[in-house]
């Protein structure tokens, strides 16, 4: 469906959407707005998962569900409309700085991040001689404020990654990087087999989880997010997340044990393998090797005495 090429009922929808968006206030014509909607529809419905069975009605509903007013504002800003920019700045200037402060937790970095985003939004970097504002990527599925926050978070993470890549050797030395030990390989074949079986059973148990459960697990145990943060992300109550985590932890253990038993381990072996951390195991091996070498030296020292005794006898 092309909004701009519609006639009859479709044209009425396009007109209604245009009126709803208030784009006229920013000198965006109905045709321009229809073209924007066409572009968004193309992007959304031409993707592999949405192209099938997308009726004109569904597309009209999709357009009606967009944040049309904010979309009009963003696109008018991208087009360089002065009034739109005034509105944008009055609405979001302070909020952007607040967001940056929330993300960076540092005043100087926050100002830098917010200014950098403003420059991107305005489109300081011209491509092929054309100023290209980042606001053209906003399609109105979420709020403009939320989108700005997400873009800022992405920018922050990208910047953090860049800085991490550019850490000097001196800084690495200060952090003790040159002393980082190489990852020890499992000492013997039996350990390696046990690891592989444990990994396979764990991967299998994790694969059986629903995406939401796995997201909850990763957010809590891996990323260290709080229950409140996870609950806010998933739109749940904290107690629900807490109960879910308890259930997941217990369920995972059972599934991994069952998986290990399926691979030929006894219950005791499976429980032992699960309780033993791979990293602890490697550390134990190293310490055991060190003890062995000491004993060997001591043993070597004793041999001549025995030999001497024998010799005396």
């Amino acid at each position: 469906m092309q909004i701009s090429a519609q006639s009859g009922h479709g044209a009425d929808i396009a007109t209604a959407l245009y009126i709803r968006s208030g784009a006229a206030a920013y000198d965006v014509s109905a045709e321009q707005f229809a073209a924007i909607l066409d572009e968004i529809l193309r992007k959304y419905f031409d993707s592999a998962h949405n192209s099938a069975h997308a009726s004109a009605e569904q597309k009209a509903d999709f357009c009606a569900g967009l944040r049309l007013e904010e979309l009009a504002l963003a696109r008018a800003c991208a087009g360089g409309n002065e009034r739109a920019w005034q509105d944008f700045i009055s609405r979001y200037r302070h909020k952007l700085h607040g967001m940056a402060l929330h993300i960076t937790r540092d005043g100087a970095h926050a100002a830098e991040l917010a200014d950098s985003l403003f420059a991107d939004l305005y489109g300081v970097n011209a491509r092929d001689g054309v100023r290209r504002s980042k606001l053209v990527f906003y399609i109105g599925r979420g709020s403009l404020e939320g989108w700005l926050r997400t873009v800022m978070a992405q920018e922050f993470i990208n910047r953090y990654r860049k800085q991490k890549r550019m850490v000097s050797l001196e800084e690495q030395t200060e952090e003790g990087m040159q002393f980082a030990a190489a990852v020890a390989e499992p000492a013997c074949a039996s350990d390696r087999t046990s690891d592989q079986r444990l990994e396979a059973a764990t991967d299998e148990a994790l694969a059986e989880l629903s995406p939401e459960d796995r997201f909850t697990l990763a957010s809590y145990y891996l990323d260290g997010r709080t229950l409140a943060e996870i609950a806010r992300t998933l739109g749940l109550h904290e107690s629900s997340v807490s109960r879910r985590l308890d259930r997941l932890a217990a369920g995972l253990r059972k599934r991994i044990l069952a998986g290990l038993r399926m691979q030929g381990m006894s219950h005791a072996q499976a429980a032992e393998a699960l309780e033993t951390d791979v990293r602890d195991l490697r550390l134990n091996l190293r310490s055991r090797l060190m003890q062995d070498s000491g004993a060997k030296t001591f043993h070597e020292g004793k041999v001549p005495a025995q030999d001497a005794g024998k010799g005396s006898n």
Binding site: R67, R91, I139, G146, T150, L217, S219
Partner: protein, 448 residues
């Protein structure tokens, strides 16, 4: 919290979308764009899309971090709040403190503080609503406030057609205030109880912030007449008063009244009367009369909120009750931050909370002084005075209620070309693609 085996940490860390999801399995392999992540964070995606994004997020630590950073902290709502007296002000909470909220195994002070504040406001609101008369008595009488004066029964004229023969009528006062105007015509009790039965030709003034002040102001009258008169609000008995120079105490009273009349049609006025003889002065709550009147209304689709909502609105109204010149719809800018509706009176320089509902608010629409805002779980609020007072609206048709998330609201003036402002058409879109519309300002609804 239960611990998981350490191997689970390792395997979760080792997981990558490109490894776990083979090529061609779907869009989950690629990083979702900012729009999709925003819609995910705002719970605005369809179930299928949400599952897809979750599938990616479960495997991609970078995107999880973006989402975590992009979701604002619960208490960070605004960076700058202009009104120092604002009762429910959003203050940035250190993330560290938030993290320790549960793990510290003790309630943090900010939580207790807000709980104490909420409890205090609830008590004040309930006292205000149940015993408004006592509060009115405490207010100093204003000499130059013009109100309808109750004449003694013996000297007052009688209304021949009144079923209550001894009912007094309010006569014009001899108050010297030139700015004051008064209409002292009282109605028989049975007629006054029904605002719908107003006489033809009566002037109906739309509700205004200054008018609301009269709901409480100086409604002192003869104790023998108090019940009859205060329970019989009428447009004909409205007192028009240009006096607005009241102190802070009255501002709160005005706000409380505004909450109480949140569903009142524009023509309603409470009867305010004052006896010039101090010896027989006795305040009578106008609110009781208004509330009694409200209970008789069944036609409106607007329903009053719970006591908690009223208490919250009392605070909102108290902090938002500003001079009329400041609440000019032309200067008001609206926005929604973290599910809270905020407004700015200075083109975005400063923001103040206008409405915080039980569920997060998602969208709003404003036209002149008409403001509508909607949110999750069918939350819908309307303000006819630029956010000074709010009324919760529950659209319903044939026992079918609006319960899904309100994603967009549109206001269209039906008679845009007419000089006289008419009812606006409200179009509400929901997350499950329902469209609800009302052509009479939210009283009746149609579902498309």
């Amino acid at each position: 919290m239960s611990e998981v085996p350490k191997i689970v940490y390792d395997r979760l860390r080792a997981a990558r979308p490109e490894r776990a999801l083979p090529e061609g399995t779907g869009p989950e392999r690629a990083h979702p764009d900012a729009d999709l992540l925003t819609a995910f964070a705002e719970q605005a995606l369809s179930v299928t899309e949400r599952d897809g994004v979750l599938k990616h997020l479960a495997l991609c630590g970078d995107c999880r971090e973006v989402v975590a950073l992009a979701i604002p902290a619960a208490d960070i709502v605004a960076t700058k709040i202009a009104t120092e007296t604002e009762a429910v002000r959003a203050t940035p909470t250190p993330v560290k403190a938030q993290r320790n909220w549960l793990t510290a195994s003790k309630l943090a002070w900010p939580s207790l503080r807000w709980a104490a504040l909420a409890a205090g406001v609830a008590v004040v609101a309930s006292v205000l609503l149940v015993h408004p008369g006592k509060l009115n008595r405490a207010m100093p009488p204003s000499a130059n406030r013009q109100v309808a004066t109750i004449a003694p029964p013996a000297s007052g004229p009688q209304i021949a057609s009144s079923p209550i023969e001894s009912s007094p009528i309010a006569s014009s006062s001899t108050d010297q205030s030139a700015a004051s105007t008064k209409i002292g015509e009282a109605r028989p009790k049975s007629e006054l109880r029904l605002p719908k039965k107003l006489k033809a030709g009566q002037v109906m003034t739309p509700p205004h912030q200054a008018d609301l002040g009269r709901l409480i102001a100086d409604n002192k009258k003869d104790s023998s007449q108090a019940d009859k008169l205060s329970a019989a609000p009428s447009a004909g008995a409205s007192a028009f008063d240009a006096q607005t120079d009241r102190g802070a105490t009255e501002t709160v009273e005005v706000s409380a009244a505004a909450v109480a009349v949140e569903v009142a049609p524009s023509g309603e006025r409470s009867l305010t009367a004052r006896n010039e003889t101090p010896a027989i002065e006795k305040a009578k709550p106008a609110l009781q009369g208004i509330e009694a009147n409200e209970q008789q209304k069944t036609e409106t689709a607007v329903i009053s909120g719970s006591a908690r909502l009223q208490a919250r609105n009392v605070m909102s109204a108290a902090k938002l009750a500003l001079p009329a010149s400041q609440t000019s719809a032309r200067n008001v800018t609206w926005t929604i931050t973290a599910g809270v509706l905020q407004r700015s009176l200075d083109s975005g320089q400063s923001w103040q909370n206008a409405l915080r509902a039980d569920h997060p608010l998602l969208c709003y629409a404003s036209h002149d002084e008409d403001v509508w805002t909607g949110g999750q779980a069918g939350t819908l609020f309307h303000s006819a005075n630029s956010g000074i007072t709010w009324a919760q609206v529950r659209p319903s048709i044939k026992a079918q209620q609006l319960i899904s998330d309100v994603t967009h609201i549109d206001i269209t003036r039906i008679d845009a070309r007419s000089d006289v402002p008419g009812p606006a058409e409200i179009v509400v879109s929901t997350s499950n693609n329902e469209i609800w519309s009302s052509a009479d300002g939210g009283k009746t609804w149609e579902k498309k």
